[in-house]
Structures are given as structure tokens and as C-alpha cells.
Symmetry: C2
Subunit: 456 residues, 2 copies
Amino acid sequence: MTLSLDLTNMMAGALPDGAGISATEWAAAQLRFAQAHAAVHRRTDDLGFLTLPENRALHAATQQVVADVRGRFDDVLLLGIGGSALGPIALRTSLGAAAAAHAAVPRLQVLDNVDPASMAAMLARLELTRTLVLVVSKSGGTVETMAQYLIVRDALAAAVGEAEARRHLIFITDPEVGALRRIARAEGIVTLDVPANVGGRFSVLSPVGLLPAALIGIDTDALLAGAAHVMQASTSVTLMQNVAGAFATAQWLADTSHDRRIQVLMPYADPLRDVALWFVQLWAESLGKRRPDGRSVGPTPVPALGATDQHAQVQLFMEGPLDKTVTFVTVGGRDGAGRIPSRHADIPELGYLGGHTLGELIDIEQRATAGALAARGRFNATLHLDTLDAWHVGALLQTLALATAYAGVLYEVDAFNQPGVELGKQFAYALLGRTGSEAARTEWDALPKPDPRWQI
Amino acid sequence: MTLSLDLTNMMAGALPDGAGISATEWAAAQLRFAQAHAAVHRRTDDLGFLTLPENRALHAATQQVVADVRGRFDDVLLLGIGGSALGPIALRTSLGAAAAAHAAVPRLQVLDNVDPASMAAMLARLELTRTLVLVVSKSGGTVETMAQYLIVRDALAAAVGEAEARRHLIFITDPEVGALRRIARAEGIVTLDVPANVGGRFSVLSPVGLLPAALIGIDTDALLAGAAHVMQASTSVTLMQNVAGAFATAQWLADTSHDRRIQVLMPYADPLRDVALWFVQLWAESLGKRRPDGRSVGPTPVPALGATDQHAQVQLFMEGPLDKTVTFVTVGGRDGAGRIPSRHADIPELGYLGGHTLGELIDIEQRATAGALAARGRFNATLHLDTLDAWHVGALLQTLALATAYAGVLYEVDAFNQPGVELGKQFAYALLGRTGSEAARTEWDALPKPDPRWQI
């Protein structure tokens, strides 16, 4: 059971024309990383995600809820947005199909937007008498989630009655504050905690991800064990002994010393495609910041999927500006899977394929793409999972979360806030007429208006 | 029926601190655009996508196939990758649910990768006796698609017999060349053309997109009519009368004169989320190029989805480096949809929502985000569809395809090739042992090898 990292193609020597991180840069970065390591690991009290893998009480509470609802529901509908949805979706995509093959479990449905068409289609599809609704919001008052909740709560009440509706609801929210907590207390709705010191985008291994995962049969013990392994391995301040540290430091150097400011995460495995979207939020919202010195920093994460994106984005990665890194995520143990039969042996485009497997093909395509990118001076790295299971997915998620915390220190930003979204939120409140948004309304009214000269 | 564009927030005047495209720049760009316009529209013979909306013979052939197979199949399985899959997927997501609500039509399944787990899951799920298989490859020899075809062809033969299997297959490929055409001729398999002058990523309005769309009940007449309308409107060489031209020119100026090199497409509508992925291929693979003068150019497209990504990427867009544009895609006519009931009127986070609708909320959030971005000097634009139907989706796709062709001229690249993917392809052939790949094998063997110093 291993998650490994290969940085060869990020380094001078492997890349042509003097491209790549030099030994001197790496040695200097080792000193910076030691500071970042200390800054992160001394904060175990206020960075709750560091200890989620060992939080047995929270896991036990989650498992108790799963036991309590067993057999009552055919569908689980999760209402949430951002960190409340991306983690559960990533777990469903990566591990849900395998879990469902081994046990009779409910389906997980996610509404992560306020598109009225999606809400109508979901309500038309679900049998609400057999549906459990998870309402997920760390703050307990996220506008999109509250709007979804109000609609679904009324639909539930219409389907099963007001009293019974409460037994179809579980809230996942802050232990103390917010609207969801207040409603739960008033109405006796079952609630699981997102610890106060765990932010939304770092919450996948809290009940936010654990409850939906456990409900659909994913082995949450293994998920947490993989993440715990990463925490143990990350005690080392030596870069090439700490996967999360080496990943974060290499990406930070590539951006700040080599102008590789766009950072692609490209799994070569369909089940990991939504892990890339989860990573995009984590990396973008944590590192895209205005620093106290006024400088705007932060790499731009881009999701991709191999081999598919070889026919979409790889042309740009190969020949476009030298402004990217590509981190592949590969999976072992697939060589024998998907045998390609021999047919049309006389046709050159097909004849050579017979006898190979899809597993071989996807692995070979990844190696070929990595080699081609390196040959053209394009930074790339590979994260490798020995196999695709709950242990390795837990390890991967915790590695990327920890890397984000390290990168926050390297970039000199607070990786755990998101002040930039506040203005848009206030403008929306103002346009919706929420009490207390009068100042935002004034600021909104002072903005330049759509100009007919620039409209077609 | 209108597709409109608002560039106000790309322009000096609307943005603070002197940011934005100046009137002088825009006037100069008008001259460049006139050249681009001429260069594109004089190529109607070799840029086949320009005339696809009027290609009645191709549409009639597609409709004949739909009529011939009606009632025989419950599932349509499309095998393809890149441009052979992204268009069909975008059409399914944007219009499929509405079409399926009005008629009993088959489901569309797409395999767009060579992950053995996806192939196994798909074959386990499908009833092959009731499945029509579309094999889609412009060149007729795409390695991933050929591998999928060999596996699915054997599975079909096992399920229905060799002779009947041919009646479950339709090929969509070049009219003359390639392995698929050769097999079709030898075995009498029904085949639809991708015209020789239509490249994969510009093929959504050829049978590549039209056949799967028509099979699942999408109104392909309306799709083509919307696209045809765009072609008529694009006769104007005046920028602010040509939506595709104004979009392309504004993005090109933002990149090349203002260093806004990352270009986000952010629909505020769940059904359009995969149109953003289709656009990513179109923009990335067409414009990400090494020019004859040796310069690597090309903006990096990034997909996003509103309101969801307000909780994921918008923090970066608001406070990260000033290196992005955001183009929203909005949809009219949703104000009355998704009424939010009043409940918990005493709780501030919920009380103000009652009586509003989800449609209002998603529209307000888009306006609020656009205003907030502009207030912080972030370039943004809005493409607006009067409503979400086949006409407007056809118009949107053709607008973006045409914009890509214009942008190719502005960037001085060939928007219709993809030479950068050739090296990786040759390396893969070499590793698979395909005859004729000996030179690639030699080049591969000379590459630096993974270095244990950079591996954990």
C-alpha cells in the first residue's frame, strides 16, 4: 500500500534547454519547506483536518447514523455546494461503483447548484418516501443550500407529512453556530458535526464526506487509515521523504521561480476524474489570495483526464506557452484488465492492438505523454497509487490537503479563508433585499452600468 | 430568439485603475478583425464547419438512419474520444433531459476513454441485444476508439451473433480514408460521413453530434437553424455586429495586450456545464500552438459552473493574479421557476429567501459575481441565451466554433491542426510495438529515465 511521487520531469537534467528546477533551488527550498512544515504541524489544534484521520469519536457518530437509517432508504439526496459537495462527489465517483457491487446500498444524488431545472428533475425522479436528505453546510447558512433546503423540506412534508419529514433529514454543520444548528435544536433533527476548526474544503474526511460515503457502502475505515498513514509519513521535514511536502514545494517553485503558473491535475483513471475537481477548489480557493503586501498570488489549477484529454488539452500543454505543470495520477494493477481481442489483423490501425489490454494501453499512453511533455521542456510529475481502493483514495486526498496547507505557508497566504467571495455575496444579498445589505446596495448602485456601446 | 454578448466589463471605463481594453485598442483591433473575417469566410470550401448548418444532404442522411433504427434499441453506446465525444456529451447534457420528457427515446451512453473499469461497468450494465453502437472517429483509426471497438464488437457478436452484430453498428467517419471506412465497405456496415474538410473538434453539427442527438429526440432542425442564424449574422465585418468576432477579438486583446491569458467559460446553468468542456477542447487544441516564428502562443481555457464555482474557483478569480477573463453564459426565462417556500421566517439566513425563486437566485448571483469581478478590475463578459433550447444551443456552439476560427487568424496560428500530439502518439505506438514506430522507439530510449533521487 503506497502512494508515491516522481518529480524527475520537474528537474533540471531531465528537461532540455536548461529548463527545470535546479539542485540549488531545491536545496534552498528545503529550508523554506522546513519552516512551512513547522508552521503547519504546530497548528494541530486549529487545523482540524490534520487530525480528522484519527478522530474516532466523529467516525463512530457517523457510523451510528448509518446503522440507524439502514434499510429505510433507496436514495440519499445531498444538498450542498462547494466543499460540501465536491468531496462527496469525488468519493462517489472514485469508490462508489465498486462498493455498490458488493452490497445493496442506496444511490447517492447530489444537488450542488440552484438551477431550477436540476431541482425539478431531481424531485421528479426521486421517491421521497424512500429518500434520506443530507443538508450540508459548515456555516449552516449558505444561501444556495438554504434555498435548496426550503424547497426539499416542503416537498418532503408533502410526501410524508411534517412530523415524519424530520426523520428523513440529517444536517451536517458546525457544532454550535448557524441556522441549521438552530433548526436542528428546535426540531430534534439528527445532526453530525463539522468540527469548528475544519473548513469546508478541508472537510472530506469529516462527516461531510464520511456519512455519504458510508451510506453507499464505501469502507470509511480504510479511507481514514490511508489518510492516517499520510499524516504519519509527513512527520519528516526532509522533502524527498514527505510526498505532500515535495509536491507542494515543487509546484510552488515551478510557479514562483519558473513562471509555470497553471497547474494541471490529470488522473489516468475515470474514477478519479472528480478528485481533480475537488483539488481545483482546494488549490484555487486556498492559494488564490491578495497578500498583506498587496500582491495577488496563486497558481491556477486546471482539471484534466487521461487518456481522454490527449485529444483535447494536450496540444496546448505540448506547444502552448511554457506556463504549466502537469501532475499525472496513475493507478497500478490494471495491466491484465480489458483484454483487446484480435480482429482485422490485416488492417494496420487495428492489427497491433490484439492481445494488448486496455489497462496496458492507458498506462502506456500516460508514460508516452509524460515523456513527450518532458522532451519539449514541459514540467510534469506523477503521483502513483498502487491500486484504486479506499485506502489509496484516502491517502491521495489527505496528501493534497496537507500539500495545500504547506503551499499556503510557502506562498505567504492564509490558506484557510476566502475573503474574495464576500463582495459578490453582499451584492447578491442586496439584490435579494436581505436586511442589513444596504451598504452593499449603495456600492452596487455606484458600479458602472451595462453600456449599450459594448452590447450586441 | 437571440444570442447576445455584453463586453462592458472588458472595457476601460467600466473597470477601475485604468484596467480594460481602451477605445484605441479596440479601433485598431477592428482592422485586424476585418482581416481575420476575410481570411475565414473566403475559406468556405476547406472549412467545412462553416457550411454544416446548411448541409441538408448530410442532415437528411442522418435522419434516414434514425428512421431506420427506430424502436429497435433501448441504449445507444457511442465509442469515441475528444471531438468525437465532447460534442455529443454537450448536446446530451444541455438538451437530452428535455427531449426525453417528450418522447420515448433510447438512452445515450458514451465511452470516451480506455479505462478498463469503465468498459467493464458499461458492458455489465447494457443489454447488448437492445443496444446500438456508434463508432466515431474522423480519421477512422484513433487508437483508443479502435481498442474500444474491438472489445465491443466481440461482445456484440457473443450477444447476438456475428451477422446480426453488423446491424447493431453504425460508423461515423471520413468519407474515403481510414480503417473504419475500409471495414464498413468490406462488411456492409451503415456509415455516415464526417466531411473531409471538417475536423473532429468542429464536427458537432455533422453526424458526429447530429446522429446521437437525433436518436435521443433532440430537435436537430432547430439546432441547425440556430447555427445557420449565426452564420448569417456573421457576414458583418463590424465587430459590434458580429458576436463571434467580438468575443474572439476581446479575448485575444485581453490575452496579448493585457496578459489575461487564462480564459474561463462559466455558464450559470447546469445543462450547459459540458458545453464548457467542449469549448475547452476547441479553444485549447485550436489556439495552443508553436507558431512558424517559434513563439508558443495560446490562451488557456478553464471550465467553470455558476453558481457552484462561487464556492470553488471564484476566490481565485477575485483575488488571484490579474491573468484571467471570465465569460459567463446566462439563460433567460427562468425567473418564475423553482419557487422557494417561506419557512423559518424568524431565522435571518432563511427568512429573506421565501417568495423568491431559484431562477431569480441563480440570475442574481451571476450579476453579483460579474459586478464584484469588475469592481476588482477583473475582465468579464456575458453571452446570453434568451432561452435554453435547441435553437439557442446550436447558435452558441456555432458562435464559439466561428470565434475559434477568427482567433486562429488573430493569433497567427493554424487553428485546424494539432501537431503537438504527434510525439506522444508515436511514443505510445513504439511502446505498444506497432510496426513502423522504430524511430520513435529510438527517441524514447534516449530520453532521461526516472531518477531515484526524485522519487518517493
